[in-house]
């Protein structure tokens, strides 16, 4: 899977966000806010093909977590990205 290439992660002060312009007639544009670790992961995953394992490995390298916890967190994050439509179709 891949992150949508048209989305840009932006930082304002200590906040991270992504603006997704609605393409429908009615403006239902969305602003997503990301916490520090999600924003860090977004930067790492930008432009590359990745799997849940890629995400879990990144989490293990960066944070002091067990492999099981990292795998579980990676799964949650990917489900979240998928649900919000932030991944390439």
């Amino acid at each position: 899977m891949k992150l949508r290439a048209d989305l840009v992660l932006r930082t304002i002060g200590s906040d991270h966000m992504i603006v997704d312009p609605s393409q429908d007639m009615v403006d239902l544009s969305t602003v997503y806010t990301l916490n520090d670790s999600a924003a860090w992961l977004w930067e790492q995953l930008k432009g590359i093909e990745f799997s849940p394992t890629t995400v879990a490995n990144l989490l293990c390298e960066q944070y002091d977590v067990t492999a099981e916890k990292a795998a579980a967190d990676a799964e949650i994050l990917i489900q979240d990205f998928k649900k919000q439509g932030l991944l390439e179709k």
């Binding site: 840009v8 304002i12 906040d15 603006v19 312009p21 393409q23 007639m25």
Partner: protein, 306 residues
């Protein structure tokens, strides 16, 4: 023999928010009469490569078998007389003329640097209003690639610095500006509807433009932007400073960019990101009274000092 030759085309340049807009028009049109609000923006030094070019023509609009994808068919200004289409290479905007027998037809390249307006059967007043509106639309999009955002709001000049009031149509932006003019010393109106903002080495500037809604206030001036304040009608007056993403979200809906052009939309966000890093944002729930203006003024002076 043809009736029109290339010598019948005149050109005139305007400088708006430091951007040169050139209009190419047939000699039969009296441009100064059509665009009275542009008078102070005329650029006489003549630039050889204007950023925006707009051709006005009385030729018949092209008949397109495929108009492209209909992106919008409603506009605050034109109601259901308006349609906006996206094609691969550009955009088509149409507005039914007042007589209802022909279309105003605007074709713009994807980045809005080049556009052509086909003028249908219409009277002077209609020509003036529609062309002025189309130029605003074109400018608002074309400016995005130059770190300029046209915003919807009313701007007060307080001792040489700008305060931009934002909010949905009908919220009372102009009313709130009037309250400042009446009750706060050293204030004047910079623009009442469509100012432009730009990031410069000096800081974020806010510019008057030839577009100012119902208020005749077309000043060719630029001042430092001190703050944005989003307004909302309420039974009491309450001011809140908005930090980070909250500030961004409060300003975003007042910025002009077509959502369907992701490149222009992303440019706008990149500029807005820089703007928000420098300019404080407030949220004012308010009544249309003197106390609201006073509270807003005091709190802005407060957050600007911090």
């Amino acid at each position: 023999m043809t009736l029109t030759t290339s010598t019948d085309i005149q050109k005139k340049q305007y400088k708006i928010a430091d951007i040169i807009l050139q209009i190419n028009y047939p000699i039969v049109l009296d441009l100064e009469k059509l665009l009275p609000t542009f008078r102070d923006f005329e650029w006489r030094e003549h630039s050889s490569n204007p950023v925006i070019q707009v051709n006005l023509t009385t030729d018949k609009a092209p008949v397109e078998p495929d108009m492209g994808m209909l992106r919008s068919d409603l506009s605050i200004s034109w109601g259901d007389r308006f349609c906006f289409y996206e094609k691969e290479e550009g955009y088509i905007t149409t507005i039914v003329n007042e007589q209802g027998n022909e279309l105003w037809y605007l074709y713009s390249e994807r980045n809005f640097a080049q556009s052509t307006v086909y003028i249908p059967e219409s009277n002077d007043y209609e020509q003036s209003t529609v062309i002025c509106w189309m130029l605003m639309m074109i400018f608002g999009q074309a400016a995005l690639l130059h770190e300029i955002i046209m915003i919807h709001g009313s701007v007060i000049n307080l001792k040489g610095q700008g305060i931009a009031f934002l909010g949905k149509s009908g919220t009372g932006k102009s009313t709130h500006s009037r309250l400042w003019l009446n009750h706060i010393a050293e204030t004047s109106l910079l623009n009442d509807d469509n100012p432009a903002i730009r990031v410069t080495a000096r800081g974020v500037l806010i510019y008057g433009t030839p577009w100012s809604g119902k208020t005749p206030c077309y000043k060719n001036e630029a001042i430092l932007l001190k703050a944005f304040v989003r307004l909302q009608q309420a039974p009491e007056n309450k001011f809140e400073a908005l930090q980070g993403v909250k500030g961004f979200i409060a300003v975003l809906p007042s910025c002009s960019a077509i959502r369907w052009n992701k490149d222009l939309f992303a440019e706008m966000n990149t500029t807005l990101e820089k703007v928000i890093a420098k300019v404080p944002v407030g949220f004012l729930k308010c009544l249309p009274d003197q106390e609201a203006a006073q509270l807003c003024h005091d709190r802005i002076v407060d957050i600007a000092v911090k």
